[in-house]
Structures are given as C-alpha cells and as structure tokens.
Point group: C2
Chain length 485, copies 2
C-alpha cells in the first residue's frame, strides 16, 4: 500500500485487523494521532505522541550504548558521489535509492552530493584521518541522525523515504574484537526490544543475499507482526576490512606493522515504532508498551455532577503523587465528555493503565486500576498508589510480551518441502522454519514461489533441518522464512 | 577565514589570542579534539567531546521547553520549492542559501526539493491541516533537527553549511498570547545562556533590516566574544499572521468566526558551542562551563613510583564516589606521562576542576582541587568530597560568568557620532551603544563605514541616546552596534 493513497481519508472507525490488517494499521496510527502524511513523497510527520515514543526509545538505547563505552558524534548529511564508488557492493546496494543534491546557492555543484542513506563511507573517510596506531583503537562511536532512502513503496514508520535512526560505527584491532562488538550490540538490541518494547524476536544471521551491502556478516533480530509478516527490528554488521580497505584505514599495530582495522556497524530506526504498533495493537486500537508510552497512566474521575469537584480534587492529588514518582501520568477531567467515551479513547490511544476514581472510592480511600491488555480491574489503596501503579505497569509489560510470544509461537511453522511452505505461508501466515542448502538459487526460488524471504539463520532453531526445502540436498542451514515489511 | 584553508594544518602550539584570535580559535578546537573538517564544503564533523557539549545543551533546554508545555515533533528534511514562494520575505531571505535535490533514485524530480534551512513553511502547511478551532490552540511544538544554509564563508560551529539546532513553532489565538510566547522563549534562552553557559547577553529587539525573513518582530540575545565581536546566541520571532496568511492557517474562534492564527518561532543552534569557546577560552586553551563540560573533574594521581599503586587505588575510590553522585569525572592514571604534562593537557581541554592526590594527601585524608579559571588550589577533606567538588564547580561557573561580564563591560562603549564609533570599533573593538533615527539608510551607512551591524535594540540600555549617530536627527532607538560572526 502506498502512503499517497491514504492521505485524504479521514478515520472514524478502526477497520478490524481480521478484515484488512493494512487498513487497520493506517486507521490506528492516524486516529491515535501518531503521525501525518507530509507533502513530500514517502516522508511523514512524526506528531508529538509518535515522536515521544521515539524519544523514550532513544533515552534507553543511548544509556545502554554509553554504558558499553560508546560516545555520540555527528557526521555530515551530504556524501560526495565519489565516496560511494569506493566499496563496490555498497554502491550497488544503495545507488538505486539515493537522492542527489546537484545545485546549491544558485550554482551547479562540481560533484553531486548524496543525502546519506547510511554513513559507512563518510565515517570511513574520517576514521582514516583519526586512526594511526593501536593506541587509537577501538573507536566506539554512535550517531543519532536522519537518513534518506528513496523507496518506491512506503508505509508510515516501517518504510519511509526519510527516517530517524542511530548508526553505530566502530573500528578495532582485529577480527575477534570486532566480532565481539557486533555480537554485543546485537544482544543489546535483543534485550532492549524484548524487555523494553515487549516484542519477542528471533536472533540470527542473515543469508549472504540479505546481508548489508558491504558487510562480511549481518546479524538481525526479527519480529513477527500480527499479520504474520516479519520486521527486521535491528541489525548488527561485521564489516571485516571491506571499508578499511576501501578507505585505507590502517594503523600501526603492536608489532609496529601497518594493518587494516576491522569495523562494525549497527542500527535501529523509527521502524521500531511501526513494529510495536503491529505487534501489540488490537481492534480497539493501539496498545503501547509501558516503558515507551507517552502516557503510562490516564486518570479519569467518575461520578455524578454533585461530587465532581471533590473527586477531581482528589484525582489532582493522585496525579501529583504519580508525577512526582516519575510516572508519565495524564488526567482527563473534562465535564462534558462521558467516562465511557474517555475509556474508549485512551484504550484506542494505547495507554497501558487507566485509573478510575469515583465518590465511593474516595470515601474508601481506594481507586481502580485497569490493564489495557487483560482488562483486569484492580481496586487499590490510594496510600500505596505509586507501588500499585508500578506493579500494574510491570504486569501490563509482561502480559504484552507473553501475548506476543504466544502469538508468534502459534504462527511459527516447520516444513520440509516447498509445497508445505507455500501452503503454510498462504493459509496460515507466520514464520516458517526450513532447511536450506546454501545456494542463492534455492533461496530465490522460495521467494519467487511464496513471496517469503529468508529472515535469518536463527542461533537457536526449534529443530535442526537436514534437507534443503527446494532441492532436497543436504541442508547447510536451518532458516526462518517469512513475508516481510 | 574559510574552513578549506585550515584543513591541512596540524596543531602543535596554540596561537596566542592577542596575536591572531581566529588562528587561536581554530588551534583550540582542533587541539582539544572538538571537531574535524569534513570533505563536504562548509560541513564539519562534531567529534565526541564537541558533540557532548551539544548533548548537555539539549538536555537542559529540552527540559525547559517541556516544563513550559512544549512537545517535540519531527517534520521532513525536504521542502517543496513551491512552499518557499508563499511568503515573499521568507523566499527572498533564504533562496540564496538553499541546496536543491533535483534527482532521486535515478529520476529527475518533477519539483525541486530544498533541504530545509528552517521549517516555517513545512510546519505552516501542516498546521493548516491540524488547526480547525480555538480548541486546537495553542499548538506548542519544538523540533531538534539538522538544517542547511549554503554559506559562502564558514567557520566551525559558528557558521557551517549544515548545523544542528532546535526550532520551536507555536500557533496562538491572538497577538497577545503569541507575543507572550515569544518573550517567554527569549527569557528561557537568556536564563539558559547566562546561568548554564556562563555567558552574559544583551537582550533586545532586532532592527527591521536584521530581523528574520518573514517575521513581524525578531528578538535576540547577543554575546560578546573575546575579540569584541558579537554572536547572536538565540532568537525568538513573533511572526504575526504572515505565515498563517501564506499557508491559510485559520481557526474558528470563540465567537464562531474564522480567523488567522498568530505564530512564533524561536531557535538556538550549535553556534552556542562556538560562542562558549570564544567567550571563555584563553591562551592555555578551552575553558568549558561546568554545566556542559563533558568532563567536569579530572583526577590526576601524583607522587613517586613506590606509592603509585596505593595512590591510584585511593583515586579509584574517589572516582567512584564522584561518579555515583552524578558528577562527570575522569581519571588519567597513566604511569608513563608526567603530571605536569597532564595538568597542561586538561587545562587545554577546558576541564573545569582538576583533582590532585598524592601520598601525603592520602595519609592526611585530603586532596587538592584546582579551578581552571582562577587557578585557585583548595585542600579539601576526602570525606566531604562530593560537596566540595560541587561547590568548586559552582565557583568556577561564577568565575567564568563574572570574568565574561567584566570583559564585556570593559568593551562596551557609548558614542554620539559615527567618527567616534569608527574609532571605537577600529581601536578598541567591542560593542558600541549609539542613537539611531530608525532609517535603513543610516543603519547601512554605519555598516559600510565601520563593518559593524546593529545587533539589537536593548531592552535595558545603559544610557538612552537622543541623536542618531549618522544624521544627527532625533534618535528613535538606542542601538548596540558591533562587528559580528
């Protein structure tokens, strides 16, 4: 589905997921006010609630990157055309998607400048200047930035021409260290996506045809959306000496010999926003993981007009108490809107916990917490509110993770032949585990026949396959296949 | 000075400020490893120590913006050419500096896309869609982003083709509210720059010829560098209904009548990094304001080899203690580098406080704190270290502010005639207060004759002038003139 077709429609009701998942997705993100279409092809506006999810993702990842010794830096948006030519696979991979600046300040440029789709080349050029000796290593740098890939088919958050991301770029003395870094960052992504966004993922290695253009090895975490499709939620690349050779990044090693550095790169992007929506959302609307939800708790005072002022007064106190404890809390005390309407509204917006308080609750020193996921209602003491809310947020996070994991497990199939895979993909959707001989031809054949691509070679496959699903030869790898965003 | 000329030079010694201030600036930022030149004209790389200053600026400003009800959002990098045509002054102001994307993904674009120099037009277009009724107002949005202005003459941090900034964009029901917002944000900038970066500023209104292209009124804070030149450190604009009319941003007011919104915009950028370097640095190197310094304290163990292990062990404990208290602390315990060399190194890098500890200090349960600014050495009890360090950081901040303020006051002149101003600007450098009749011709004449531009019309001028310094007619305003970066 292309964004341009969606722009004009005004959302009143949310299409059920079972009826049209793509329609559901667009309905939800528009109705919940996360984004809007922009007048530039394939580019969206991140509205405050959508952007705040990204801010919470950034805060936590940034903390983890720094904890592991990385520092942030910032490199230019523009990349001279000649830089792309230096790494052959890289230029072939990215050239088809580049926008070019050809004029500036009224003059034609001598050399075209690409808008960065990723920064290996620019950073490679700089590292060549910065790195002379083993004493300069490792270089552990991350960048938060916008990047552009001129995509033909776009989808808000998941595939947009401009998107926001972080890209880590490190340089090391040898392969072992660089591979350790690659794996460390992959594990940070896995842990973050599972324990912060409540999305279970499959961790593994990309097949050669799916790896990053210019990498030796690419590793990924793959998440299953509620329509059974995959999203690559994060990647970490061991680049070997490919970019070091292309940009001549050499250093004097401990034996006084010039050597190429080994580099890595790794990134996650605003795709994560699209992923968490498609993993957790339901027919009532968004369901936001508590750790990144702009509002974690929404307070809704209830009861008849005559007790309203007293109830709202008490609700104000609860609001202040939660806010002081660092909980992101909102209150909707509008008198002219029915509580039932508000309940629906904040369910649709995905607020993890609703707090209701009425006149009788007030008298009894209690209030009611309601989970967005299970719908469970819990009467809690006001005296103990902060702890109760924190516990309920934790519970909602766990409920989301467990539901997503159950869904994924239920839609995770294991097949022996291409025919089985066709049936599985067509009828049951989801991920399919199959044996693969390692030939690009067989991999392409799967794609042509089923529309599914190899997602990765999982580190811990449920079963180990012995035969290639296409040619029947001995399987070199057990691979997860799925249709993907 | 153009950046291109500077690129190849390797800095060994820092040129004294009195000998060549521009040279000093470049020497310092390169030697202290804040930035590097990039292969793209006018674009720099923000290295980790340079970028971290920006991160601390961001954290605090972002906190203040949110505290005053603003939320972040993100708008596209690309702006269709037609958008610029909609506001006449705006297009005239920015057109000469725009880079254009003309091709993407192998095809010529139907309409050229500018790289945003600022986002009033894109945001105006979106606000038109978002604002229907007074219930939608005010809209209080900020964006952290990269922007591009293809500058002819560039200088790292102070004037680069691509730079990082924040741009606030708000829409209001009426002029009064919008003007209050404009002033509120100006005051946030003043307070931040004075109390966080230790830079005293002149607060005032820009003359019409110096205002933002498309604004009704522009207000600024102006800081004096150590060579007497001015830097516009932040601006806040009341845009009236100019952009509302251009983008047809109307709302149904409380009387059920369609009306144009009144908008504001306001921004600060990575220029602030250049400013704080030029305000506080000296012939020994950088001097970083404690609140934004990447390292606030550097611990240097001293003494003979035989006590080394014990001293380093104790220094490690002090390090842990300070770190736990949230102080950004570093330690240089290299055995093969002399303490005197380290003292110079961290003075050059502008670390606000040095902590020395030797074997005798250890026995006595003390250590020594040294201020980067006054050089004062203070022997403090280890038991009370966190409080002592915090107090010394506060003291260094105050010393920096007072020094900068004294310097500015000493280089702040008051003149009656153009001849006096010429002499003042040529011989004494600094800011000059003078009367101005309000005519653009007289203002231009000052610039042509002295190279000084009107910085702003200060809200609180030291004296009020009665005659225009050029034509001798009655002064409408008392204006601060200076040569500026």
């Amino acid at each position: 589905m292309d964004m341009a077709n969606e722009e004009k429609q005004f959302v009143t009701e949310i299409t059920p997921q079972s009826e049209d998942f793509s329609r559901w997705y667009i309905d939800v993100i528009k109705k919940a006010d996360l984004m809007d279409y922009s007048p530039v092809r394939g580019c969206i506006v991140f509205k405050p609630d959508g952007y705040e999810i990204w801010e919470h993702i950034q805060e936590e990842l940034d903390r983890r990157f720094k904890e592991t010794g990385h520092r942030n830096a910032y490199f230019p948006l523009f990349i001279p055309e000649s830089f792309f030519q230096k790494e052959k696979e890289h230029v072939e991979g990215f050239n088809p998607e580049l926008p070019w600046v050809t004029e500036a300040a009224g003059e034609k440029l001598e050399e075209r400048l690409a808008i960065r789709p990723t920064s290996e080349t620019m950073i490679g050029h700089m590292y060549e200047k910065w790195i002379q000796s083993y004493r300069d290593l490792p270089v552990l740098i991350n960048q938060w930035a916008n990047v552009v890939r001129w995509e033909k088919r776009t989808l808000p958050f998941l595939r947009t021409s401009e998107f926001l991301w972080q890209e880590g770029h490190t340089a090391h003395e040898n392969e072992q260290e660089a591979r350790e870094e690659t794996m460390q960052m992959l594990e940070i992504y896995r842990d973050f996506v599972e324990n912060y966004l409540a999305i279970p993922v499959i961790v593994g290695q990309k097949t050669p045809s799916e790896k990053f253009a210019g990498a030796v090895d690419t590793y990924s975490i793959e998440a299953m959306m509620k329509d059974g499709r995959a999203v690559q939620a994060g990647t970490s690349h061991y680049l070997g000496t490919n970019f070091a050779v292309a940009f001549n990044i050499q250093y004097l090693n401990r034996d006084n010999v010039q050597e190429y550095v080994h580099t890595t790169s790794w990134g996650v992007s605003t795709r994560l926003i699209g992923s968490l929506i498609m993993v957790h959302g339901d027919d009532r609307g968004l369901a936001l993981p508590p750790k990144v939800a702009p509002k974690q708790v929404m307070i809704i005072p209830i009861g008849p007009p005559k007790t309203r002022d007293a109830v709202v007064g008490r609700a104000d106190e609860l609001f202040a108490q939660l806010k002081k404890a660092g909980i992101r809390v909102g209150m909707d005390d509008r008198a002219d809107v029915r509580p039932g309407w508000k309940f629906n509204e904040y369910e649709m917006r995905g607020v993890p916990v609703r707090l209701e308080i009425g006149p009788r609750d007030m008298e009894n020193g209690v209030c009611v917490l309601v989970s967005r996921i299970s719908g469970e209602k819990k009467v809690v003491q006001q005296d103990n509110l902060v702890e109760e809310v924190q516990a309920m947020l934790e519970q909602v996070h766990n409920e989301m993770y467990e539901r997503a994991k159950s869904f994924r497990d239920e839609h995770f199939y294991s097949v022996e032949t291409l025919d089985e895979m066709k049936a599985s993909i067509e009828e049951k959707r989801g991920f399919t585990l199959a044996g693969w001989c390692g030939s690009e031809a067989c991999e392409r054949h799967v794609k042509d026949e089923t529309g599914a691509t190899s997602r990765n070679i999982p580190f811990e496959p449920a079963t180990k396959k012995s035969k290639c699903l296409v040619c029947g030869e001995e399987a070199e790898h057990t691979v997860v296949f799925a249709r993907a965003y």
